[in-house]
């Protein structure tokens, strides 16, 4: 706040719009990234329900699968997938940079190179988990 007030009759303090994240694309991108947390929480709950239905036998599992096959739920899941994938990409672009910098003391490694191993590991992890989920292993 101003300390000098002698010849300063009034000042104007701007207030942020409640919709500030629509003002510029980078802010909207930030908010999309943060909103992924809602979908991460949603999916963690769905996985708990999945585990529960598996434990409760064939009938409960069939009911869970029936719930999943609701078109609205499929659309919701597709949206969740987009948000969580966006989180993954932003995470893999940013976090390795931070760690590389922490370990080397400077940004010696280009950003793309720092991020590359994560995208490789992402593909491998997806294939392994995917094989289990479709019952191939």
């Amino acid at each position: 706040m101003p300390q000098y007030k002698v010849y300063q009759p009034a000042t104007y303090r701007p207030r942020m719009s409640p919709y500030w994240f629509f003002d510029r694309w980078p802010y909207l991108k930030f908010m999309i990234r943060e909103t992924s947390s809602v979908f991460a929480a949603y999916w963690a709950v769905v996985m708990l329900a999945q585990i529960r239905s598996i434990r409760h036998g064939a009938w409960a599992y069939a009911r869970f699968e029936h719930w999943l096959s609701n078109p609205l739920i499929i659309i919701l899941n597709a949206v969740a997938l987009l948000f969580v994938a966006f989180h993954a990409v932003t995470w893999f672009m940013l976090v390795p940079r931070v760690f590389v910098r922490q370990m080397t003391g400077s940004g010696a490694i280009p950003d793309e190179l720092a991020a590359a191993p994560n995208f490789g590991a992402w593909i491998v992890a997806s294939i392994v988990v995917g094989l289990f989920l479709v019952g191939a292993i």
Partner: protein, 261 residues
């Protein structure tokens, strides 16, 4: 690209025979309660920066326009303004890059406006002081000659030392807009600059201050501070580094309470 000889023949370097409209935020502290926009038509010249256009307005159209500027070469950090909603140094923003206009020019976002495009800087100065941006020695060491520092030791913090205090990062930071008590990008980058300095011993002292509420943990990694920085200081990266160090400290304190003093 035109050669200098053709320019000399035409005798009119940079003149494009066009104009551009500037919509400039005006706030008169004795008359207004909130800012409004005035439009000015100025010549569009290929060799003009937005600052040159503002100078044209002040010299030829309205002498009462208030704004800050000094060096015209991107080092004094005075001429930061919102150009079409993005914080920019107006001395480094080509007028043709925002053509055809109209171009909206406002004071830096989130700061208290004194008049027109001039913002109050005390708030930022207070934040700067808070991070103790000087070399802190725990010992009372009085060097007889200069501290020796290798080029490698310099390289570690050099990037963070290039800040010119232009405050563009604060104008780009919604967290500062939402919570004015946030220490903010430039001050935190400067804190990290001294933490990483091989001559400095004040890291623990700074962490005591900056890992409290309003320090590093208010940052939610929006990253626009680094995007708008004219000196590529990357305050966002500095803050994340700081978070890692503060986290290590925190776990050390909790797991080995006897280890810390």
């Amino acid at each position: 690209m035109e050669t200098s000889s053709t320019n000399a023949q035409s005798g009119a370097i940079g003149i494009l025979d066009e104009t551009i409209v500037l919509e400039i935020a005006r706030f008169h502290p004795e008359k207004d309660t909130e800012p409004s926009y005035d439009s000015f038509e100025v010549p569009l010249r290929s060799d003009w920066m937005v600052l040159d256009a503002l100078n044209y307005v002040k010299d030829h159209l309205d002498g009462s326009l208030a704004y800050r500027w000094s060096c015209r070469m991107g080092i004094c950090g005075s001429c930061g303004m919102m150009v079409n909603g993005v914080p920019r140094l107006t001395c480094e923003t080509l007028l043709t890059s925002v053509a055809p206009g109209p171009v909206r020019i406002g004071p830096l976002d989130h700061f208290t406006v004194v008049k027109d495009l001039v913002i109050e800087m005390d708030e930022f100065m207070g934040k700067l002081q808070k991070v103790r941006p000087w070399i802190v020695r725990k010992d009372n060491y009085q060097p007889k000659r200069e501290f020796i520092q290798t080029p490698a030791q310099l390289e570690v913090f050099k990037q963070y030392s290039l800040c010119i205090n232009c405050m563009l990062c604060y104008a780009a930071c919604p967290v500062f807009g939402l919570d004015p008590s946030f220490t903010g990008p430039a001050a935190l980058a400067l804190a990290e600059r001294y933490n990483l300095d091989s001559r400095d011993q004040g890291a623990a002292e700074r962490t005591d201050i900056l890992s409290q509420h309003d320090g590093i943990w208010d940052c939610t990694v929006i990253g626009e501070c680094s995007e708008v920085c004219p000196k590529h200081v990357d305050p966002s990266m500095a803050i994340q580094q700081y978070k890692i160090d503060a986290t290590k400290d925190w776990f050390k304190t909790w797991l080995m309470p006897w280890g810390n003093k």
